[in-house]
Subunit: 185 residues, 2 copies
Amino acid sequence: MQFLRKHIEKILPLTDEEFAFVATHFSTRKYKKHQYLVQEGDEVKHCYLVISGLLKLVYNDDNGKDHIVSFAMEDWWESDYYAFYTQSIATMSLQCIEDTEVYCFSFENYKKLCEEFPKIEHFFLQKTNFGFLAAQRRILSLLTSNAKERYEQLLKQYPSLLQRVPKSLLAAYLGVSRETLSRLV
Amino acid sequence: MQFLRKHIEKILPLTDEEFAFVATHFSTRKYKKHQYLVQEGDEVKHCYLVISGLLKLVYNDDNGKDHIVSFAMEDWWESDYYAFYTQSIATMSLQCIEDTEVYCFSFENYKKLCEEFPKIEHFFLQKTNFGFLAAQRRILSLLTSNAKERYEQLLKQYPSLLQRVPKSLLAAYLGVSRETLSRLV
């Protein structure tokens, strides 16, 4: 659980007793490449923090085309958040691009933890703020940049990610065809 | 301050004493149509909650073209959040589409309030979650839908907003030219 403690303490310092309590709300799981953590149409019971590996959050549109909403690598949180927070059915899927190990907690444990240890909401607020700002940056990028510029922004922001993501998935993230991407990079 | 109390208590019930304390961190301001709350290049000192009126958050790109990142009407929070949270220079502007009245607080008061009354972070966490989910929905809409579909989604989601927003601004939000929008609606 050292990874989890280090991750939380970047934002919120904890005593040994506090961390021991927080940790009881989490469990760890391992998934193989291609395995699903969340499948479209299923209940979304958990939220995940990536310890190692790489995930993709995918929306499959009415024409059967995949769009990658986000990637998640070490130290990133991911889920179909709308479905998680509203305890509704997943409209997206979360799948492994590499073998992946995660911490996860259930919605019940999330609520319980926030009620019993409200200080943790400071941590979640900072993480959610960060997620909101990243999403807003992505909106701006989609509104103002073409595919080549979006590729360059991604390369600058997350150079290590680009080395791990197959070109076909990168195209589905940038919103272009595999062929268009080949001409760009 | 009844509006503010009602707004917060939708998420977090407060005693009279608690609300009186929270309220000391806010002030109210009135702006005229076309007036700026935040201007690109300025320090972003405040975050705003709209009491009445309508705002647009605008990003002006390298070619001088305006892109509307979001609108904000009654009961919505808005700012150049990246600049607000990192206390850096605004890369976006926040401007009145209508005469607008807001509550606002400074970054110092935001930090002070969270430190002195940590319960308020539960409220901010819920609001930020909501903002994150709305931003994610917008990303999906930009990735998967054409301008006509995006217009219809907006009409379904915020019918009252569309009646108040001039067509030229709607085009800048949807990412199409004014002429393209005219053919759609």
